[in-house]
Amino acid sequence: MIPGPAKIHIQRVSKAFAVDGRQAPALVDIELEVAEREFLCILGPSGCGKSTLLNIVAGFVQPTGGTVLVDGQPIAGPGADRGVVFQEYVLFPWLTVAGNVEFGLALKGVPSAERRRTVTRYLDLVGLGGHAAKFPVQLSGGMKQRVAIARALANSPAIILMDEPFGALDAQTREVLQDELSRIQRVEHKTIVFVTHSIREAVYLADRVVVMTSAPGRIKQVFPIKLPEIRDRFAPDFTQYESEITRVVKEEVAKVHE
């Protein structure tokens, strides 16, 4: 089912957190390959370890067992090859929109003329062309998240990790940003791991949807989404996927409430 060579290989990754002096497992034996240019969505009940898994791939958190390989090499901490978009609109408030977008390029010492071109390109891509000189406090939530996406893209990482990036947005803005992300991916062809609670969002965006079990998180089932690149949220096969995945997710959510 994997369309290309594995870009990310999550190899038997486990994670336990010390809670009251005891080790509480959060992730158990996660084995997952993400292909180059693949859009992978992760679904699962709250607290099942989705963020933990993403943080391990980002290099923020060390797994207790297993390794994460990127291009066959074990990762060593966070790095510019894996861009991250957080749920909490994490922008540098003291930098303008342009300053935020060019942050990674400035770190690399890219000359300013080239930086400006890149900033313009990605701000246009996320539909914020006229807002380069604004500061984050002047933006709405949706605009902030667009800037965060532009910032991640402008640094041209091969991989982008997104943890519920649209989770805090209203339904309309959310669908607009889904459309934009889907359009951007058709241009940029990143390898994306995207955590979400919305099954609709997952089916709309993903090449494959991974459903995790309730805590401690394991992989329960993987759904390849065989839908056209440009998707229609009301097409019968779309809703078919939606209800199929909903059924599986519900089984796990029910376990949490038992």
């Binding site: 290099g59 966070p78 510019a80 957080f86 408030p93 003291w94 984050p136 406090v137 991640a152």
Partner: protein
């Protein structure tokens, strides 16, 4: 029934008092909001109000000291009118002395506060970021901090003599603690997600420090610096009371020795003006550096 309840109500007078206090306190957020929204006052009106309050104060001062003279309440030397104070200041200025005193006070403040700031930032930034450094430095600071700086002034004099060293050291000592503590706190309150975001954009440790930790901690650090400047002017006077030949604190003490009340008040007012200008200058700097907080 009614007759019974009434006296009880009277008995609960303390409760009523509490209520009154309570209602006053509950209006504090309201007051604060009012104060915070104060800046929305038209600029000209705000300026008029400020000028007005200064003039009213001067007017009252004139009135009271004038009444003292007119009604011969007590020796007017105890409460000279503003004209006499201004006269004393002008006289000192004309003789060229005032500038010497101002300069030596400012020099002590600059060196003492500057050293305090460098030490506070130099220790506070790493102590905020590295737990190991914090565990090393903080216990000592916590141990020394509750000692009022005044209590160590005599010690400084014993250790480094009565000259410039003890005066400057005293300011450094007094200003170090608040600036150190605000710096540590400023770094510790940085959202860890900002660090993660920068790291996954490729920031190496030195870049992280310069491009994220410093700017993210800056607002609170500046508040601490402002506190430090205010404190410098606060403590410099005391150290200039002892064994100084120049400085505004010396002028005040000198005025006391020779019963020159206008000179005492004049020096105090000049000190107040200096402290105020320092604070205003820092606020201007703050507004420029932190424009991102209130752009547009």
């Amino acid at each position: 029934m009614l007759a019974e309840t009434q006296p009880r109500r009277l008995e609960s007078a303390p409760g009523v008092a509490n209520l009154a206090v309570g209602s006053f306190v509950s209006s504090v957020p309201e007051l604060m909001e009012w104060g915070l929204r104060g800046s929305a006052l038209p600029r000209r009106r705000a300026l008029t109000l400020r000028l007005g309050s200064v003039l009213v104060f001067l007017g009252l001062w004139c009135l009271v000291s004038g009444l003292v003279v007119l009604l011969e309440l007590f020796n007017p030397i105890f409460l000279p009118g503003p004209w006499m104070v201004i006269g004393a200041v002008i006289e000192l200025g004309a003789k060229g002395q005032l500038w010497v005193h101002i300069a030596s006070t400012l020099e002590r403040v600059a060196v003492g506060f500057g050293t305090g700031a460098v030490l506070a930032l130099g220790l506070g930034l790493p102590a905020g970021y590295f737990r190991a450094v914090r565990n090393l430095v903080e216990p000592v600071v916590e141990l020394l901090r509750p000692i009022p700086p005044l209590a160590v002034l005599p010690l400084f004099i014993v250790w480094v003599g009565i000259g410039e060293g003890s005066k400057i050291g005293f300011i450094t000592y007094a200003t170090f603690f608040p600036m150190f503590l605000t710096t540590v706190h400023a770094v510790r309150q940085i959202d860890p997600l900002l660090l993660r975001a920068a790291q996954s954009l490729g920031a190496r440790p030195t870049q992280l420090f310069r491009r994220v930790i410093l700017p993210a901690a800056l607002p609170e650090i500046l508040t601490g610096v402002r506190l430090g400047v205010a404190l410098s002017f606060f403590v410099i006077v005391i150290s200039e009371f002892i064994g100084a030949e120049h400085g505004l604190g010396f002028l005040i003490n000198d005025g006391r020795n020779f019963f020159l009340v206008p000179q005492m008040l004049g020096a105090a007012i000049v000190l107040g003006l200096l402290g105020w200008s320092g604070n205003e200058a820092l606020r201007l700097l703050e507004r420029r550096l932190l424009r991102w907080q209130h752009p547009g």
